[in-house]
């Protein structure tokens, strides 16, 4: 017993010593830029994160090979080869914090791009500020990140607009399509994404049409597979429209089950992450429903050489049209590249993080969807972008692709709050200062 414990102390100490020596400490190579890329690679989030990883991998390789069209035709980032380090975002915020610190200190990444879950973003942002590492929260959508959590961001940036944009544009689009609408029900996932989406959508709807009714606001657990009871509940007192921010497997399952039971004929579906369903279900998608893509991605993309190249290259590599996760990852890298090269101003080599961030503030950069992004809000750390909604009209069997009609693009200043205004206040004020 005694001897065992004595050994205990010795072995614990030895373990500590070993670990400090294990951690990689390579000579910092000046010709490459190491980027930590954190996406959901397992669990339900993989339905989304694996596309982001595919997109990021494709962009990183293409940039290194200098195969991307203008304005990103320069090799790598400012001539530096991109060395991606992929990490799985699954496992919770505690694990992500450990992974983040490991990326920064052991892998010695120059920057981190990633994080889809708002819980992870909230947990990591303060640490990013503390460790002074450029961290691009590429796609979490909670306005609170820069409104409440890190109110004066220096090292955290977000190259994607907040979810507010999706809800506001959805409300506007729905009213344009159905001016006489009287009621909207909602079904969303029971965690902050779903809860916030429904709250913001209701606020936006009420701001636009105060007498609207909300007969049902259902919430289901992430990963629910059977929606029979919810569909029955929605069928028994159908609203004119049904709003949902479902994504991934939940969205697909719900769409399949709702359409076979005729819910789609009673209520007009408004799906803020709907193009994901088109990507997965193809021709089985609900005809006549309103779709969004967390931005003007995929079916809403403009035809620019960069956008066309991205779509074609993705199709060639992964045999499918790029889902919006891939667009979000691509714009994350493009944003950093644009800022980096602006800051370098023609000089080769590595730059200080602070210089890159300074260049990113207020920058407008081109994206794979053809709609530029402007780092307009929260002191230039928060992106705004135009967004679009459309209606799925059926499947083009000849071309084997979805037909999306009635596409309406909302300019960035129309659906995003002005700089310095909290999203929720802006919606309640009736979108004061919006430029539509």
């Amino acid at each position: 017993m005694k001897t065992k414990l004595r050994l205990w102390a010795a072995s614990t100490a030895a373990m500590l010593v070993c670990l400090t020596s294990i951690h990689a400490d390579p000579a910092v190579a000046e010709d490459k830029l190491k980027i930590g890329l954190v996406f959901f690679l397992s669990g339900p989030g993989a339905a989304y994160g694996s596309h982001a990883r595919d997109g990021a991998k494709l962009i990183a390789e293409a940039l290194n090979a200098a195969k991307v069209p203008a304005p990103y035709d320069k090799a790598g980032i400012n001539g530096l080869r991109i060395e991606p380090v992929f990490v799985d975002e699954a496992g919770g915020a505690q694990k992500q914090l450990a992974e983040y610190r490991r990326l920064v200190e052991s892998e010695k990444v120059d920057m981190v791009i990633g994080y889809n879950s708002s819980a992870d973003c909230n947990a990591i942002a303060p640490v990013a500020e503390e460790l002074q590492v450029l961290t691009d929260f590429f796609h979490c959508g909670n306005p609170q990140l820069f409104e409440d959590i890190v109110t004066a961001p220096e090292y955290s940036v977000r190259t994607a607009p907040t979810g507010t944009m999706d809800q506001v544009a959805a409300a506007k689009y729905l009213l344009e399509k159905m001016p006489a609408i009287k009621s909207v029900s909602g079904i969303n996932q029971d965690y902050s994404w779903g809860q916030d989406s429904w709250t913001e959508f209701k606020a936006a709807m009420s701001a636009l049409k105060p007498d609207i009714q909300y007969p049902a606001g259902l919430f289901t657990k992430l990963g629910t597979s059977d929606y029979g009871a919810e569909i029955s509940a929605l069928l028994s007192s159908p609203a004119d429209a049904l709003f949902s921010s479902f994504w991934g497997g939940d969205a697909d399952a719900f769409a399949l089950q709702a359409s076979t039971r005729g819910l789609t004929e009673k209520s007009k579906f408004v799906l803020t992450m709907g193009t994901g369903i088109i990507d997965d279900l193809g021709e089985k998608t609900i005809v006549g429903s309103i779709f969004g893509a967390r931005g003007p991605h995929g079916y809403f993309a403009r035809k620019t050489p960069l956008a066309d190249w991205f779509k074609a290259e993705y199709l060639k590599t992964y045999h499918r049209v790029p889902p919006f996760g891939a667009y979000a990852a691509a714009q994350g890298i493009f944003g950093i590249k644009a800022a980096y090269e602006k800051a370098a101003a023609g000089l080769a080599g590595k730059l200080k993080t602070e210089a890159v961030i300074a260049a990113l503030k207020g920058l407008t950069f081109e994206t794979a969807s053809g709609f530029p992004i402007t780092m307009a809000n929260n002191n230039g750390h928060q992106a705004i972008q135009a967004t679009a909604y459309g209606v799925y009209a059926g499947w083009d069997k000849a071309k084997n692709e979805a037909i999306v009609t009635d596409i309406k693009v909302y300019p960035a200043e129309c659906v995003n709050p002005p700089n310095g205004v909290r999203a929720v206040d802006w919606i309640k004020s009736g979108f004061k200062g919006a430029k539509c």
Binding site: L41, A47, L218, G228, D252, Q257, R261, D280
Partner: protein, 298 residues
């Protein structure tokens, strides 16, 4: 009135699904005294197997019956193979070890198997709704329900009846019951306890895979579907009484009803209705509703 009939049908349909998911778990617990967390992974393996089998049979131009047969066949074969492998290579070495250790072993298996399905499918969500679509709709109480979902109620009742009959009315079933009662005496009486255990585990795994296969046409099969399933199956089995087939049926009915009622009437509390039902039942009946309580003796 409409709501009431909707609640009943929804509860029945959801309960049927719950029972299918839970029956294998409770069977394995009954005989092996082992709470198999890997059951959730069996479910998702079965679902993926069904997706590929249905996809292939649709491509071959087979009819609905054959599509379903292919799905069930594929799920059963894979379930039996995995079950055999797991029992022989892992569990066999752990019989007699403390319960928690075996629990953790099945959790490890869950992680591995769940990840393997992701590797094979590439993490995309897949669907194969053809058999469900082909069977059409029925109207009950003014609402449309897919015939497939309603048929599943019958299927799960049949599974329950078959399980009950096998355990109570056949020689094999009596051997299994004997092993449950006292495996040492059973061994002394010439029953192959090892074989009964292996057999039960395989049957349980097959049932898990079949549950996945039967669910596959209703959902988009995507990574992580097993995690939710295992917790909810635990709830069902514990409420009904661990190791009892009628208990699983009753547990499924209660949990199904709790969910349907809350979804219709109190959607805010739907997420924790299941766990609340579990706490409430256990607080009143510590061994679940239908579990036989073993007497303690000095």
């Amino acid at each position: 009135m409409g709501t009431l009939s909707a609640i009943i049908v929804d509860a029945a349909s959801f309960s049927a699904w719950l029972f299918l998911v839970a029956v294998g778990l409770t069977l394995i617990f009954g005989v092996l005294r082992l709470l198999n967390i890997a059951h959730g992974a069996f479910y998702s393996v079965g679902a993926y197997a069904a997706i590929y089998a249905i996809g292939a049979s649709v491509a071959l131009g087979w009819g609905t019956a054959l599509q379903l047969a292919a799905a069930l066949g594929a799920a059963s074969v894979i379930g039996a193979l995995i079950g055999l492998l797991v029992e022989r290579c892992v569990l066999l070495r752990l019989y007699g070890h403390p319960e928690p250790l075996v629990l953790i072993a099945t959790y490890a298996l869950f992680l591995v198997l769940d990840d393997l399905t992701k590797m094979i499918s590439g993490g995309r969500s897949l669907y194969a709704a053809q058999p469900r679509d082909n069977l059409g709709q029925i109207a009950i109480g003014g609402l449309q329900y897919p015939t497939y979902d309603i048929a599943l109620i019958g299927v799960s009742l049949m599974v329950a009846a078959a399980a009950w009959y096998t355990l109570n009315r056949t020689r094999l079933g009596r051997c299994v019951t004997a092993v449950v009662f006292d495996s040492e005496i059973s061994a002394a009486m010439g029953i192959h306890v090892g074989r009964i255990k292996t057999g039960t585990f395989i049957v349980g795994s097959v049932l898990g895979c079949i549950a996945g296969a039967l669910t596959a046409p209703k959902i988009a099969v995507s990574p992580g579907i097993g995690v939710e399933v295992i917790v909810i199956a635990f709830a069902v089995v514990v409420v009904g009484g661990l190791g009892s087939i009628p208990g699983a049926l009753l547990g499924a009915a209660i949990v199904g009803l709790a969910r349907a009622v809350t979804a219709h009437l109190m959607p805010e509390v739907e997420v924790f209705a299941v766990y609340f039902a579990m706490v409430a039942v256990l607080a009143v009946r510590p061994h679940g509703l239908l579990a036989p309580v073993a007497a303690r003796r000095i």
